[in-house]
């Protein structure tokens, strides 16, 4: 197979420009929608534009990823190209880590520095004069200006749903590793089994997370608007949940590919990349559980 030791440079492709237009339409629609909502303008075209853009992006993903899968199965990808994918996925996950670093940094800054200052402690405690009656405590059950930002009545108890979710996600990291070992030993039915279990664990996690959000909004008064506690809580858990959703979708695609007989014991980077991503969302969750829920 001559092409196997060649570095494959693909022909012209329509997918990048479709991706660009799709993303542009999506964010234009989203921006229009948000602005119309805020200004109270009825009959916004935003949702429709957003929907059209989303369809373009979905079409692009099917098309582009489909092309890559076909090329890979046609044997066009050399081991060297495989390494390019590995570097690419690895650095992509690093960029995701840095995205979460921004929000964890926000949480630590508020808890360790800005919050106590606002409560009158430390080097910049002079900012206490803005709201002299404000006392800082974490979790933040009173905000400086409760009219603008009504605080939550209570916060989520880490030792119920979040603990169950931790167990679910950590086990899912184990099951996907078992699936990977099965793939390497070419045990296809074990592979399907463990991957199926991983997907179910992901869905169970998301269901519990949705239930927790519901409880936070309806029973605890913990919302996006309940001061910096609500803001950091929903930002961190929300983006994590979005990543779990994405990861679950990726795993479902992998499951469908495995049912079609894709991947071999020595060539399965698509699966491996999905499992890297899954481990990444798991590690982020452990950080969340410790710093958002427990401490």
């Amino acid at each position: 197979m001559a092409s196997h030791d060649h570095y494959y440079v693909p022909a012209q492709s329509k997918w990048p420009i479709i991706a660009t237009l799709g993303l542009l339409i999506t964010v234009y629609g989203l921006g229009t929608w948000f602005n119309d909502l805020k200004a109270g303008r009825p009959d916004s075209h935003g949702p429709l534009i957003f929907f059209v853009g989303g369809l373009c992006v979905a079409y692009m993903m099917f098309g582009w990823f489909g092309a890559v899968v076909r090329e890979s199965r046609a044997g066009l990808y050399s081991p060297q190209l495989d390494r390019s994918f590995r570097w690419g996925m690895g650095w992509f996950i690093f960029s995701e880590v840095m995205f979460f670093v921004a929000f964890f940094g926000t949480l630590f800054y508020v808890r360790i520095l800005a919050g106590p200052w606002l409560g009158g402690e430390g080097h910049k405690g002079v900012s206490h004069m803005l709201w002299p009656s404000f006392e800082f405590a974490w979790p933040l059950l009173n905000t400086p200006d409760p009219k603008l930002f009504p605080a939550a009545r209570d916060v989520i108890d880490p030792w119920h749903l979040p603990l169950i979710n931790t167990i679910l996600l950590v086990s899912s990291s184990v099951t996907i590793t078992l699936a990977h070992h099965a793939l390497r030993k070419d045990h296809r039915s074990a592979l399907k089994g463990w991957l199926g279990v991983t997907i179910l664990l992901g869905i169970a996690f998301l269901t519990l997370q949705a239930y927790e959000y519901h409880e936070a909004y309806t029973e605890l008064g913990l919302t996006l608007g309940s001061g910096i506690y609500g803001a950091t809580f929903f930002m961190l858990t929300g983006f994590h949940g979005a990543h779990v959703t994405m990861g679950t979708l990726i795993l479902i695609v992998m499951f469908a590919r495995i049912l079609r007989g894709h991947f071999s014991p020595d060539k399965h980077f698509g699966f491996e990349a999905a499992s890297w991503y899954w481990h990444f969302v798991d590690v982020v969750w452990v950080g969340l559980f410790i710093f958002v829920y427990v401490l």
Binding site: V9, K38, A74, S95, V101, Y109, L130, L224
Partner: protein, 529 residues
């Protein structure tokens, strides 16, 4: 190992030239096509951002309000900064990386060619979204390119939503571009091209790409928090909910300070190729150059709060960030020393790339020294938000980043076009740029030290003379860049045919292929000894 260029989607071994017509550019996966598009896009944005600067300088030509309303003036300063940073300087370096990195390391193309095309096309989309906000009701972004909250949240025009999404698109583009650069450098080097044999442009880009992947997501994070504060009732940047407007500045400058090195490190690399070529001597201290670049990159992550000395950082913080910032002078000094030592006792000639490179070394050093002055926290209390800061960062960005780009363009134009550019016109472009730029920005040091605040459409009478000089210099510099466009077009359309290696002191694999470089190069990697 060699490369298969798939022209028809069937993996044919024989190789054709580029496709015909417009779709060649829209659908291309070729690193040279994409590099060319990046460079033209960057130049277009340079002229657009430059025309906004002309509006600013025209208004500041005299004290008083003559030409624009203050509200529009604010939009001009904001857009000028955003366009120059994200639209002109960064894409120019990505364009140079696309063109030159595969040629310098003997790779058939970039590692992920389709993603490369995606990275490029996102930029015109992002800037279409951003620039179109100027025409929206309420006007475009008016809160400065640093978009401090709450100016950019509570008090922002409606267009801030589109500004946020435009930043997201630019961030996606930069991250994908950087991933591509890293994968190319780490995986596609020709056999024998060890890391410590790579040209410095490749080294500096490797480190720049790392910085991009580390900080662009943080920028995405901070604009997302803005979006949430504006539309979804969160209080990240509002103390009324327990948040902190200063938090915005911390997160922004955690991105922003590495960002300034993103805009200068590739220029360091290019100049480190150009100075040896025209000194006819190898680069002095190659290894120390590599380590100095790494040191600068590391330090760039622990100095961000020097932008915030007057916002009320605890004294411990002020001291830490002050000393950490001063440390950057050490590796930067190593670099300047090495460039000067490379020239020392060399057989120097001063063709246009060398003129720009020498001016780079001298003028960037001036910008570095004013940076050192600003790093001293108690002194910064006086300089902060004055024109001294404007003078400082224009000295590192114009004769730093932009002159580095010009030097690179003249140095590699023969390789890109197959023609020599007109040397006389090139030198004229250099001298007019050099004089115009110094005239525009040097007086800003004086008005800044005398207390003229930045981002104002009107000013005290005592600053009038220097401002008029600045404006004349700026108009000269601006008009000269249209002349540069003429030089480039003339070079593309004809001129003395360029040999494979037009500069006798030049080194590197890019000179081993013909000029103009064929559409596909190094399908079989060269052996590097």
């Amino acid at each position: 190992m060699s490369a298969v260029i798939d022209e028809h989607g069937h993996g044919h071994e024989h190789v054709h030239g580029p496709a015909k017509g417009l779709m060649r550019w829209v659908l291309t996966t070729n690193h040279k096509d994409i590099g060319t598009m990046y460079l033209w896009f960057s130049f277009t944005m340079f002229l657009l951002g430059g025309s906004f600067a002309m509006v600013i300088r025209a208004e500041l030509f005299q004290p008083g309000l003559q030409i624009v309303e203050p509200a529009f003036f604010n939009q001009m300063t904001t857009m000028h900064g955003l366009i120059m940073v994200f639209g002109a300087v960064m894409p120019a370096f990505v364009g140079l990386a696309n063109w030159m990195i595969p040629l310098m390391i003997g790779a058939p193309d970039m590692a992920l060619p389709r993603m490369n095309n995606f990275s490029f096309w996102l930029l015109p989309a992002a800037f279409l979204l951003l620039v179109s906000t100027l025409f929206s009701p309420g006007g475009g972004p008016n809160f400065g390119w640093t978009f401090y909250a709450p100016l950019s949240t509570t008090y922002a025009p409606e267009s801030v939503t589109f500004f946020i999404f435009a930043i997201h698109l630019m961030g996606i583009s930069s991250i994908m571009g950087a991933i591509n650069v890293i994968a190319t450098i780490l995986n596609l080097r020709a056999p024998g091209m060890t890391l410590m044999k790579m040209p410095l442009f490749v080294w500096t880009w490797l480190i720049t790409a790392f910085l991009l992947i580390a900080v662009m997501p943080v920028l995405a994070g901070v604009v997302t928090m803005m979006l949430m504060d504006i539309h979804f009732g969160t209080s990240f940047f509002s103390a009324a909910g327990g948040g902190d407007p200063v938090l915005f500045q911390h997160v922004f400058w955690f991105f922003g300070h590495p960002e300034v090195y993103i805009m200068i490190l590739p220029a360091f690399g290019a100049v480190s190729s150009i100075i040896p070529a025209f000194s006819r001597k190898p680069l002095f201290g190659y290894t120390s150059m590599v380590y100095a670049t790494g040191a600068i990159a590391f330090l760039s992550f622990i100095v961000w709060a020097h932008h915030m000395f007057v916002v009320g950082v605890p004294v411990v913080g002020e001291l830490f960030f002050m000393y950490a910032t001063m440390l950057i002078a050490v590796p930067t000094g190593v670099k300047v020393f090495n460039w000067v030592s490379t020239m020392w006792q060399g057989a120097l000639t001063f063709e246009t790339p060398m003129l720009f490179a020498v001016a780079f070394v001298i003028l960037f050093t001036i910008g570095g020294f004013s940076g050192l002055m600003l790093a001293i926290a108690p002194a910064d209390f006086q300089y902060h938000d004055t024109y001294f800061v404007v003078a400082h960062f224009h000295y590192v960005l114009v004769p730093g980043a932009i002159f580095g780009i010009f030097a690179s363009a003249y140095y590699w134009l023969p390789k890109w076009t197959g023609h020599m550019y007109d040397e006389t016109l090139g030198k004229l472009h250099f001298w007019l740029s050099f004089i115009g730029m110094n005239m525009a920005f040097f007086p800003m040091h004086f008005v800044g030290l005398a207390g003229m605040p930045r981002r104002v459409p009107d000013y005290n009478l005592q600053f009038a003379d220097f401002n008029m000089v600045s404006s004349i210099g700026a108009f000269t510099f601006g008009a000269t860049q249209i002349f540069f466009l003429f030089i480039v077009i003339k070079c593309i359309r004809g001129g003395e045919p360029a040999p494979a290696k037009p500069w006798d002191g030049a080194e590197g694999l890019e000179w081993s292929v013909p000029s103009p470089a064929p559409y596909h190069t190094f399908q079989t990697p060269p052996e590097v000894k």
